[in-house]
């Protein structure tokens, strides 16, 4: 009896306590921060003018601290502030171009020799001055061990494109090519060919840099510390050769959960949030935040394993079966551009084609023609992005509607990459490559290329890529580019879905932020008022 009485008192108490606690939680975390609330630790001086600090919440962790081993968006975002390449990719009136950066001037001497004159006022973070020997060692290391550098600076049979790097004096190098290679400049703009001090390049000649003390570049920011899975802290490099950034301290918070990222900016602990879901835009705007919506190069696609689905008619049918307009308009709330090309139109020489319009009967007809009936395909999706899991369910429904049975399989991201790009053990897989140039994007689909997860192979396509590389005449090259893109488009080694917009939210006092289509923030002119 005594027990029952106690029980009667405790239950209402617990209920009231839970209610109070939930009201408190809602008040504290879900409502926008009040204006009067200022962080106690930040001094007013710190928030002003030249010595401002900026905190950016990003969705993924770094996969490496070695720029030449960088693969993911986060690697380039963070390490791209520390390192620079000979050339830089800039966005100009909605189109990308490649401008000389650590290079003062350059000249093509003949078909296979290029002269580069390096700036003489560039210093590394360790105080050493950049010279031609650093350039030689960095490029040789990139060609030797960088996973992306090996793709950029080697030909289809794996031979280095640059056969010799001759140092003329401390600021001049000549790159001697094995054969004419027209995409050289755009590939030297990729951060996988970033320049590091010669002694560090030689110290890590056959493996990735493993100490933050050796993360030394020429970029506007120095790496101060990096805690795996938590954050990276950068500080302004005072001897930077270019325009000094106005941000003195840059912190990247690694927050994989999108709701945690939203909470971080609403609570005031982050100034900028990268990777905002279209569904959260309205809420962020109503909280007084500024939302940027930028064109992206990330082409979201459903790769089709060409060894398991060899008939192009079946792959075309899958393209007709999916209503990408509806996906872009509804699932992504219009924050996406339907893919009518195999590479984003922000790159020069990209051609747009007649869209695969949503046409169920055409898809069914093509499947019947190809004899592809009563088949079950497994659709692999990474658990890293909840949006991809939603997309998988939409794709499943569209394919079921034309008679292809689809089973979804979610796997952890590392396992996903291995299944797709190493083991090629999948039927369909959702992912989105973010290339740095048109030529590089097209090489993904070359026979046996390391990013050719779907094992697409077309000898005509491969030959066209070789011809593009050696064609010096610009208008003839443009035609070859067009032909290659046309082949890829109709061979359809993937369901071409859409180009994802990049959505970034900032506090209203963050000004002058520029966003590159690779989901990369340019902080050159960014200020915190």
């Amino acid at each position: 009896m005594e027990m029952r009485k106690t029980f009667k008192v405790i239950v209402p108490l617990v209920v009231v306590a839970i209610l109070l606690l939930s009201i408190f939680l809602v008040y504290e975390y879900l409502l926008p921060p009040r204006a009067t609330q200022t962080p106690a630790t930040a001094s007013t001086q710190e928030l002003q003018g030249t010595s401002a600090s900026l905190t950016i919440a990003i969705p993924t962790d770094l996969s490496t601290i070695d720029i030449q081993f960088a693969q993911g968006v986060a690697d380039f975002e963070v390490l791209g502030k520390v390192y620079e390449s000979l050339f830089r990719i800039v966005l100009d009136n909605g189109r990308l171009s490649y401008v000389p950066w650590l290079v003062k001037s350059y000249k093509q001497i003949n078909e296979t020799a290029w002269l580069f004159v390096i700036r003489d006022n560039v210093y590394f973070h360790n105080g050493k001055r950049l010279d031609a020997w650093d350039v030689k060692a960095s490029l040789e290391r990139s060609m030797r061990i960088s996973p992306i550098g090996r793709m950029l600076l080697r030909d289809s049979s794996g031979n280095p494109i640059i056969s010799r790097i001759a140092v003329l004096n401390s600021t001049a190098v000549v790159l001697v090519l094995a054969k004419p290679f027209t995409p050289l400049i755009e590939n030297l703009a990729h951060l996988a060919t970033a320049i590091m001090p010669r002694d560090i390049a030689e110290k890590y000649w056959s493996g990735p840099i493993n100490s933050t003390a050796d993360v030394i570049g020429t970029g506007p920011f120095k790496l101060v510390s990096y805690e795996k899975g938590s954050k990276a802290i950068l500080s302004r490099f005072d001897r930077y050769w270019g325009n000094a950034p106005r941000i003195s301290r840059l912190t990247y918070l690694i927050l994989p959960s999108s709701s945690a990222r939203i909470a971080s900016i609403l609570s005031g602990s982050a100034d900028v949030v990268v990777g905002v879901s279209p569904d959260d835009v309205a809420r962020l705007k109503s909280s007084g935040l500024v939302v940027y919506n930028a064109t992206g190069v990330r082409l979201v696609l459903v790769a089709i394993n060409c060894k398991r689905v060899p008939d192009p008619r079946v792959r075309q049918a899958m393209n007709y079966a999916v209503d990408r307009e509806a996906i872009a308009k509804n699932l992504l709330k219009g924050f996406a551009v339907v893919a009518n090309s195999v590479v984003s139109p922000v790159f020069p020489n990209v051609y747009t084609f007649k869209a695969y319009e949503y046409n169920v009967s055409k898809a069914v007809e093509l499947l019947r023609e190809a004899g592809f009936t009563n088949k079950t395909l497994r659709l692999l999706v990474s658990t890293r992005s909840p949006k991809d899991v939603q997309l998988a369910q939409a794709i499943q429904q569209y394919l079921v509607a034309v008679g292809i049975n689809v089973v979804i399989e979610q796997v952890e991201h590392t396992a996903f990459l291995k299944r797709v790009f190493t083991d090629h053990d999948f039927d369909l897989a959702i992912y989105g490559p973010s290339p740095s140039s048109l030529y590089y994007a097209l090489t993904y689909w070359r026979t046996n290329a390391s990013l050719n997860g779907p094992l697409y192979s077309n000898p005509v396509y491969d030959r066209l890529l070789d011809e593009i590389a050696s064609e010096l005449n610009e208008s003839r090259r443009a035609l070859l580019y067009r032909e290659a893109q046309q082949i890829l488009w109709s061979d359809a080694p993937a369901i071409w879905l859409y180009f994802e917009n990049i959505i970034v939210a900032t506090k209203p006092n963050v000004k002058g932020l520029q966003i590159l289509p690779f989901q990369m923030l340019v902080l050159d002119n960014t200020t915190v008022e």
Partner: protein, 265 residues
């Protein structure tokens, strides 16, 4: 019987009915996508609104109860049969068999349950059967340890000695004494573990290792809706409330059984 156990029983019976005949309570399909009607707030058409793919949340909840209960029940059956049979065998046989089985189950027991379940789920494959096997195997040591020690204790009781002296066969002793003595505590443990299994399923699904979408389970719904905690918080509320209510009901029922002895004939 107090009011709480009655409510608990009512809730569990209601959930069982729902999981057997979900289609009686809704006119929608649990997987049909309607992209033009995403994240609609609760209305008379969709009483819990629609989710990120335009599916009716109430319908998904009904089917989620079905699949979550099915996984929980199947995994409990696996855990029960493995644990109780092998536990009893250990106690009766003794010797090497007992040592070998004890080492095996104690090893599984020392590894955190979710970790075991995740590892098994990767091997077996993520679907209803895979998730059930994973959860079942990680819960089996609890049944094993319990039934082994309980059976051992019963075997040393004087009345067993007496029965043996009177010439009772081993099978008679097992059915007449061990099974009956163990029935009630095993039932209580089962109900407790059933709520564990439901929570386990949710955890596995949040990690992406449980039943795969588009099949709804309570865990899958939480995994999907947590992304919308700021834009549509009510989405998350539905599966979370159902899990909380189900687990409390099961625990209330188990507590009731524990405090009221059942007479063993």
């Amino acid at each position: 019987m107090g009011v709480w156990p009655k409510i608990a029983i009512a809730i569990i019976v209601a959930e069982i009915i729902v999981s057997l005949f979900p289609q009686l309570f809704t006119k929608y399909s649990s997987t049909a996508i309607d992209l033009s009607n995403r994240l609609a707030p609760p209305s008379t058409q969709h009483i819990l609104g629609t989710d990120s793919l335009g599916r009716d949340v109430f319908t998904r909840l009904l089917y989620a109860i079905r699949y979550s209960l099915a996984v929980a029940a199947l995994s409990l059956a696996i855990a029960f049969s493995l644990g109780v049979v092998l536990g009893g065998l250990s106690a009766i046989a003794g010797g090497y068999i007992d040592s070998a089985l004890s080492i095996l189950f104690n090893t599984i027991y020392t590894i955190p349950g979710l970790f075991t379940a995740a590892a098994i789920s990767i091997v077996v494959g993520p679907n209803v059967i895979g998730a059930s096997i994973a959860i079942g195997l990680s819960l089996a040591p609890i049944f094993y340890r319990f039934s082994r020690s309980a059976a051992k204790e019963i075997l040393t009781k004087p009345y067993i000695e007496a029965a043996k002296a009177l010439g009772a066969s081993t099978s008679w002793i097992i059915t007449r004494y061990i099974v009956w003595e163990l029935a009630k505590p095993l039932l209580t443990t089962s109900i407790y573990l059933l709520s564990d299994a439901i929570a386990f399923e949710a955890s596995l699904s949040i990690l992406g290792l449980g039943v795969q979408p588009p099949t709804p389970t309570l865990g899958n719904m939480i995994a999907e809706y947590r992304e919308y905690i700021f834009t549509a918080p009510y989405l998350l509320l539905a599966p979370v409330t159902v899990i909380a209510i189900t687990i409390s009901s099961l625990n209330t029922l188990a507590n009731k059984l524990l405090s009221n002895p059942i007479e063993v004939p």
